[in-house]
């Protein structure tokens, strides 16, 4: 029997152990063959809802109907056999295994003449019979050819780029013959070019009659691809709208619950003296390859210097060298008049440098520590946080009151100040990092991807904070992969390519296309033809 709907979710409720209510009575019906966007800020319950549909989580209450059949999903297996496939935000791929091993995992084909899995007890015996990797590889190649997703089945996942890894995830769904495809934030890790390719692929899938559910917090994407858009906020369904009846600003308002300003207002800059001066700096990466190749630039007090570039062109190594986490092989870094070249992180911090790291969960915050403890880190060894002989005793009451002040100032949402950092949403974790880094009253702030993975509200907030810093005369070095962000905030834009600063421009001076070309390694002499192509 065929119904109009591929998936019907009715009155889904889910409360996590610990009391977070992630889904509150959500009803969502997905039509067959449509692309529906699931839009909402981080922590709005989008992924939770889809994990329920995929059988990874069990709802506390509610009905799930797939293709007209009411189902109770005990494991993803139950969803997979009904044609549901999911690409998770953090890929479910095992880096040390090959593509074919990852794809067949859980559904391994046995050599045909030995397949005994149909007879009783055969599944147990089958699990120690040889897997037919050859046929599986052939099938993966076929799927790749049919859908324009070529990939080498025998290469290992950790040798593939993120874009290719996502391709493997999609092939994995197709291998399982999924016709209801869930994609969780599929573009957050992709380059703009890869995003375009993905969208082309998804449009092909829709033509082939598949149903797509796209989880995203990016307005542009939902407007570009979806037929209908379903907006969630704080675990509740705000509304489902047709694309043609809505606009990005309307959607943003639904998501955040209030009007959102897209372009940040800022005063004209009034730059002061040079705060950061980098000359001829060279840095090696972990594999001893030169990633930063003799870079020169200056950041003045009261300006935001935006560093634009495609990931992997030396930004990470540059930031680490500036923050005292990696020793440069050559060159000089001056902060004010202090030489911090090759000095340790503590020396650099004491010279007035704050660092908002690009990977906050790995370098910015200690997840199993409480918010107070995270706030104290970095200043924990000196008054007022430490006192007594050799400053050996932590002043817990001081730390607590300082944390309470910062929580208030930065409106960090948490249950109590000694809550674990891991219980906070991504946006609030980032606010904790920002609050701590700015509490030391720095002269220079290195903000690396400060809004990566953050929702509209938090992004807006962080942008305001950075501009506020600039207006107070702090030098800000902003490194971001999002060109929009750089153009919006920066007073000067430097473009890094292959470890070198290929251009420094004022925001009005270059169009996004020109900057994009510079980021891709095309210098000024690039022909008109190439410009026309983009």
């Amino acid at each position: 029997m065929t119904t109009e709907y591929a998936v019907e979710l009715e009155d889904i409720c889910k409360t996590f152990p610990g009391g977070v209510q992630a889904n509150k009575n959500i009803t969502l019906r997905v039509r067959r063959g449509e692309v529906i966007g699931l839009l909402g800020e981080n922590g709005a319950g989008k992924s939770t809802l889809m994990n329920i549909l995929y059988g990874l989580l069990k709802p506390d209450s509610g009905r799930i109907v797939i293709n007209g059949e009411e189902v109770s999903l005990n494991s993803p297996q139950d969803a997979i056999v009904r044609g549901v496939g999911m690409v998770h935000q953090h890929f479910k791929l095992i880096p040390v295994l090959t593509v074919v091993e990852n794809v067949v995992l859980g559904l391994e084909p046995i050599l045909k003449k030995m397949d005994v899995r149909s007879i009783p007890g055969g599944r147990t015996i089958g699990s120690v019979l040889p897997v037919d990797f050859k046929t599986a590889s052939k099938k993966i190649e076929e799927i790749g050819e049919e859908n324009g997703l070529p990939v080498d089945p025998s290469s290992k996942i950790h040798d593939l780029s993120v874009g290719l890894q996502q391709r493997v995830e999609i092939i994995k769904m197709l291998y399982r013959q999924a016709n209801i495809l869930i994609l969780d934030e599929p573009t957050s890790v992709l380059t703009p070019h890869e995003v375009d390719e993905l969208f082309v692929t998804l449009k092909e899938f829709v033509k082939a009659g598949k149903t797509i559910i796209l989880i995203t917090h990016k307005l542009r994407e939902s407007m570009a691809l979806c037929d209908r858009i379903c907006v969630l906020r704080d675990g509740e369904l705000v509304g489902i709208v047709e694309r043609k009846d809505t606009s990005p600003s309307k959607l943003a308002q639904m998501m955040v619950g209030r009007p959102v300003v897209f372009t940040t207002q800022k005063e004209p800059r009034s730059p002061g003296e040079v705060v950061l001066s980098v000359s001829n700096l060279s840095v090696l990466d972990n594999r001893k390859l030169e990633k930063v190749k003799g870079i020169n630039f200056e950041v003045h007090a009261g300006e935001i210097f935006g560093l634009a570039g495609v990931q992997g062109n030396g930004q990470t190594e540059l930031i680490e060298a500036l923050a005292g986490l990696r020793k440069p092989t050559n060159g000089r870094i001056l902060v004010g008049s202090v030489d911090i070249t090759g000095k340790r992180a503590r020396f650099v911090r004491e010279a007035g440098v704050s660092h908002i790291p690009e990977d906050r969960q790995r370098m910015g915050i200690i997840l199993p520590f409480s918010v107070e403890e995270n706030i104290a880190l970095g200043s924990h060894y000196r008054p007022p946080f430490a006192a007594g002989l050799f400053s050996a005793i932590l002043q817990l009451d001081v730390i607590r009151s300082a944390t309470e002040d910062l929580v208030e100032d930065y409106s960090i949402k948490l249950s109590k100040v000694n809550a674990l950092a891991s219980t906070l949403s991504g946006g609030n974790q980032q606010k904790v990092v920002v609050a701590r880094e700015l509490a030391t009253k720095p002269n220079l702030v290195i903000a690396a991807q400060p809004t990566r993975g953050l929702d509209v509200g938090a992004t807006e907030y962080i942008h305001e904070v950075l501009i506020g810093l600039r207006d107070r005369g702090v030098a800000v070095l902003l490194i971001s992969a999002e060109l929009d962000e750089i153009q919006n905030l920066a007073d000067r834009i430097g473009v890094i390519y292959d470890g070198q600063m290929v251009a420094i421009k004022a925001p009005g001076e270059a169009t996004p296309t020109e900057l994009g070309l510079l980021m891709a390694g095309h210098t000024h002499e690039s022909s008109d033809e190439e410009v026309a192509l983009s």
């Binding site: 996590f16 152990p17 610990g18 977070v20 992630a22 992924s47 995929y54 059988g55 990874l56 989580l57 494991s75 993803p76 297996q77 139950d78 969803a79 997979i80 999911m86 998770h88 953090h90 479910k92 791929l93 095992i94 880096p95 040390v96 295994l97 091993e101 990852n102 067949v104 995992l105 859980g106 559904l107 391994e108 046995i110 089958g126 699990s127 120690v128 019979l129 040889p130 897997v131």
Partner: protein
């Protein structure tokens, strides 16, 4: 990658052939000594390799099993006791495998189902294995320290055709089936780990359980099975000590072999062939110790230091020679409902 492995195998085979040719061109007495050394190496390696590969099944699935020592003791005791009562070493082996599997199953359920700390539970297994076998030793044989001699131990395979050869005679003509099984097990384990659905799932479970879960496979089930296999093999390794190589159960007779097996597993980088190699190496150091004591009686006063040598070399080997890459999700309980 495959090419490198191919050349490695070629080089290994060549080294063995050259070594054997070298040995059989030596004087008869030295050939005999070399043969004896090969034999003792294999014998000493067997419990290490069996328990080490066992540990691999557990750890590849993501469960640390430091309880190997206790499980080996359990296997050694059960093997001896069953053989003592039924006068049949094969039943003894069956018993030791079952007892090892059972004790490991407890560890597995604690770690996987109840998300207990692997190290604490493993320590519990060691303490239980030590205490229980010491107590039961007195219950079964009414003796302290050492049980009665078992006459009907696992029969050796005898190959009369090569018995008279000065090198192959002492090396291979009298060989325990358990020693042979060590080599067979290595091959089987390689096949299971890299060629079967179970092996793929086991490796996935140790690397990233959430991926396995989202592929629709029960992580808990795979992990528990891995731990039980580890117990069965460690139990067999223990039985070899009491009714194969030796012929009685003695209090704490494993003497740290469970830990050396863990070292062999790490040194062998959690791969069957690696563990075989590491086990043989450690077995060789053990054998060398006997060799020095027998052939250089002048060194007898220093025998304690000589006995220390293998352990020192183990430390050096583990610390300096290579960097091991453990399974990524090892010792991390998998919680389904955790909020990402």
């Amino acid at each position: 990658m495959n090419q490198r492995r191919f050349f490695f195998i070629i080089a290994l085979v060549a080294a063995i052939i050259i070594g054997v040719i070298g040995i059989i061109s030596m004087p008869v007495q030295q050939q005999q000594i070399a043969g004896w050394l090969v034999s003792i190496t294999m014998q000493m390696a067997t419990p290490l390799v069996l328990a080490g590969i066992g540990g691999m099944y557990s750890e590849r699935g993501g469960v640390v099993n430091i309880g190997l020592e206790g499980i080996m003791l359990m296997g050694a005791f059960t093997g001896a006791a069953v053989t003592y009562y039924f006068d049949n070493p094969w039943l003894g082996i069956l018993g030791s495998v079952a007892a090892g599997g059972l004790l490991a199953a407890v560890h597995g359920v604690i770690c996987v189902k109840y998300k207990g700390n692997h190290i604490v539970s493993g320590t519990g297994v060691i303490l239980f294995g030590t205490g229980f076998t010491t107590l039961m030793l007195e219950v079964v044989w009414h003796q302290k320290g050492r049980g009665e001699l078992i006459t009907n131990t696992i029969p050796d395979i005898i190959i009369p055709q090569i018995q008279s050869h000065p090198f192959f005679g002492p090396a291979f003509s009298v060989i325990s089936p358990v020693v042979v099984f060590m080599f067979v097990l290595t091959a089987i384990s390689w096949y299971i780990l890299y060629r079967t659905p179970f092996g793929l799932r086991l490796r996935a479970s140790g690397e990233d359980p959430s991926t396995l879960d989202s592929a629709g496979v029960s992580v808990e089930w795979i992990r528990v099975v891995g731990v039980i296999i580890s117990g069965c093999l460690a139990g067999l390794g223990g039985a070899y000590l009491s009714i194969g190589f030796g012929s009685a159960f003695a209090k704490e007779m494993t003497a740290g072999r469970g830990f050396i097996a863990l070292a062999a597993m790490i040194f062998g980088n959690w791969t069957p062939t690696g563990i075989l190699g590491a086990g043989l190496f450690f077995g060789f150091l053990d054998g060398l110790n006997y060799f020095i004591q027998i052939y250089f009686p002048a060194l007898l006063p220093f025998s304690n230091y000589i006995a220390m040598l293998p352990f020192l070399l183990v430390v050096v080997a583990l610390g300096l020679i290579r960097k091991s890459v453990p399974p990524k999700a090892i010792a991390k309980p998998y919680e389904k409902e955790k909020r990402a």
